[in-house]
């Protein structure tokens, strides 16, 4: 067979027979066409599945965000209410503290309410005053932080003052050692002098707990980072509050995490592909969390996210391989049939050319030609 497909030339070199050339051309031509169709099908299916994944993740992300933002929403409205009380009624310090206590009692999700008054404020009653209502055991404890800490150098007081708007702080360790996060709003008096920062604090584990308890499905998981890229929710607990996306990227030498982290802290929404040396290729969907400046990521192993396309690729691959083998066999058979007479003619011509002419030539009846007797 090999000798027929790749015969020896008279000078001893091995050539390529017409049958082999024909078969090769058929296989290449049809194979290229076949591959193009398969690839087109694969990429369009993959794009469709990716779109579907993004939509599924978008819905999941929105659900996670809504669930997550429920508690911060309560903190925001309680803080605004307290600021409104302060502005509208300017209650005396003891009345104000009592209001804070009642407000905290009626909002079990909030851990503490604090008002840090400006030391340069116009109202002398609030000159050096920082009332704080916080939970202690099952009750609410009222105290004035003025004798304990300098609240004016703390981030929850300074940032709203310096930025001139309400904001969520970066998480911080509270007095009990637990992680807290605060919503703080700047309050100005009627003459636009800085009056106070009003702030509500939440325990981060309550927030992150809501988020991490969400069913993601399969081997997927969700994580959350702050505006500085710090992990506040992640199945790897050792990352929480200690690592940022960027420190992990450096530790694990993964530049793709840097690109993803930058997109997330910019507040973008989208999907990305990551390569994790331990888990293989991953697909991640990300979106910002309300106006907190934080971002969530929902992550799935790519083989799971694109399981259908993987199956399709496997089936198409097997079909393609089988088709190619069949094509080669068919091509060889057809081209062998086509090139058979020519090969016989070539062999006869070679024998004739090598003389003596008295030899009998083999009849070509096999190919349907008329029998021919050679001269004796």
């Amino acid at each position: 067979m090999i000798d027929r497909l790749f015969p020896f030339f008279p000078d001893g070199r091995r050539g390529v027979s017409i049958a082999a050339r024909l078969a090769l051309m058929i296989v290449l031509g049809v194979g290229a066409l076949f591959s193009a169709i398969v690839l087109y099908g694969y990429f369009t299916s993959r794009a469709a599945l990716e779109r579907e994944f993004a939509e599924r993740m978008e819905n999941l992300g929105r659900a996670a965000e809504n669930e997550f933002l429920r508690i911060p929403g309560i903190a925001e409205s309680a803080t605004r209410d307290l600021a409104e009380v302060l502005l509208q009624f300017s209650p005396p310090p003891e009345k104000l503290a009592e209001t804070m206590k009642r407000l905290l009692e009626s909002h079990p999700d909030i851990s503490a309410l604090t008002i840090g008054f400006s030391r340069e404020g116009a109202d002398p009653r609030y000159g050096n005053y920082c009332p704080d209502a916080s939970r202690e055991g099952g009750s609410v404890r009222l105290r004035d932080l003025a004798g304990e800490v300098d609240w004016t150098v703390q981030e929850w007081y300074q940032l709203p003052l310096q930025m001139g708007r309400a904001l969520w702080t970066e998480p911080f360790f509270g007095e009990g050692g637990g992680l807290m996060v605060s919503y703080a709003i700047p309050v100005y008096d009627a003459s636009w002098r800085y009056l106070a920062t009003v702030c509500a604090s939440l325990e981060l584990h309550r927030l992150a707990g809501v988020f991490s308890a969400m069913p993601i499905g399969g081997r997927g998981y969700a994580f959350m980072i702050t505006g500085d890229g710090t992990f506040v929710s992640h199945p790897r607990r050792e990352l929480l509050m200690r690592e940022t996306m960027f420190s992990v990227a450096e530790m694990e030498d993964r530049t793709d995490l840097v690109d993803l982290g930058r997109r997330m802290i910019r507040g973008e929404t989208g999907t990305a592909s990551l390569y994790d040396p331990l888990r293989g290729r991953l697909m991640v969907f990300f979106r910002p969390v309300g106006a907190m400046g934080w971002s969530i990521g929902i992550l799935f192993p790519e083989e799971e996210a694109l399981a259908d396309i993987t199956r399709l690729r496997r089936v198409q691959g097997l079909l393609g391989l089988g088709g190619l083998i069949a094509l080669v066999v068919a091509g060889l058979f057809i081209s062998g049939r086509i090139s058979g007479p020519m090969r016989l003619l070539k062999d006869s011509a070679a024998r004739l050319a090598s003389g003596p002419l008295c030899r009998r030539s083999r009849p070509a009846t096999r190919w349907g030609c008329s029998p021919h007797r050679s001269p004796r």
Partner: protein
């Protein structure tokens, strides 16, 4: 005597020697001016490796932080030694607090102005009228001098223990240490290409920073103690430079004990960043030594910036080790 018996006797003698040294060791307290981080790796390493104990010092290292005022600790006698910025040592040396420089650990300036390039800041003059956050007190001395010399005045905001205001875009620029806040900015996802980084040392304000201080009375009472503390500290820094991973592990454990959350990457970057300004290579300033030139330049800067700063002490009084007093 058999080899085993000889070894056992040697062991007993060693333990006895160590015990006798420990018994005679001088107790001392060193208060650092911030939370455990590799900015202080040399001190922690010297303690862990027994470099202080080997010199007869039974040292207790206390962490600093936003809740600790090192100057007050020294003034009220709650600590024997404290780490301070050189500008603090000069500014706060007064009649009732005669501060003495024991060892000048960070012998080169690491102060930076970090600005957002997209706000049009590419050089120090561009900061005129721009919003910038700045540390208060003695930390601001070199910055204010640089602004005054350049004839500019940014709109200043207080900067406390974080660069959050800068990260949130509340200011166009902030002050930073090259080994600390700048690294934190990068680890919060900002790329060097987005930032303009101006080194005050390159601008001509190269002022030494962290040093160990005590009050004159402590020095007079036991100059050997202060001298040995300085030597052991520098030995700790040399060890940390040779064993950076061990130093990072140690400081990370200290930070965890103190409830201060910091990550390994930052600690390693911080250590790599600060070491060149501590350990000299060749013709540079002598490690651990505050030179007369540096002191007088820093004192001049403090006097020019802070109106409340009085006449500076003579170099010999501020740094008695060099003058043999």
């Amino acid at each position: 005597m058999r080899p085993r018996a000889r070894a056992a006797l040697a062991g007993v003698l060693f333990v006895a020697l160590v015990a006798s040294r420990a018994g005679a060791a001088t107790k001392a307290v060193l208060t650092l001016h911030w939370y455990p981080q590799t900015q202080f790796a040399g001190y922690y390493m010297a303690l862990a490796k027994g470099f202080y104990a080997a010199r007869g010092i039974d040292l207790e290292i206390r962490r600093g932080g936003s809740d600790v005022d090192s100057i007050r600790e020294l003034r009220e006698g709650r600590t024997d030694f404290a780490t301070l910025f050189l500008t603090a040592g000069i500014l706060y040396r007064a009649d009732d607090l005669r501060l003495v420089n024991v060892v000048q650990v960070v012998n080169r300036g690491n102060l930076l102005i970090v600005a957002r390039r997209d706000r049009g800041v590419s050089k120090i003059a561009d900061l005129d009228g721009r919003r910038m956050s700045l540390w208060g007190d003695h930390f601001s001395a070199a910055f204010k001098k640089a602004f005054a010399d350049s004839g500019i005045w940014p709109v200043l905001f207080d900067q406390f223990s974080s660069v959050e205001l800068f990260l949130r875009g509340g200011v166009d620029a902030c002050c930073a240490m090259s080994y600390n806040e700048y690294q934190r900015i990068l680890l919060a996802g900002r790329s060097p290409e987005e930032l303009t980084v101006i080194s005050l040392a390159d601008e001509g304000y190269d002022i030494p920073e962290d040093g160990v201080y005590c009050v004159e009375e402590t020095w007079r009472k036991d100059p050997e103690l202060a001298r040995d503390l300085g030597e052991a500290t520098m030995e700790g820094w040399r060890y940390a430079a040779e064993h950076p991973e061990e130093a990072v592990d140690l400081v990370l454990a200290e930070a965890d004990r103190a409830g201060y959350t910091v990550n390994r990457v930052l600690l390693r970057r911080m250590l790599d960043g600060i070491l060149p300004s501590i350990l000299a290579d060749g013709s540079w300033r002598t490690p651990g030594v505050l030179s007369r030139e540096d002191y007088e330049r820093a004192a001049g800067l403090v006097r020019s910036v802070f109106v409340e700063a009085g006449e500076s002490a003579p170099y010999e009084a501020f740094r008695p080790l060099e003058s043999g007093r």
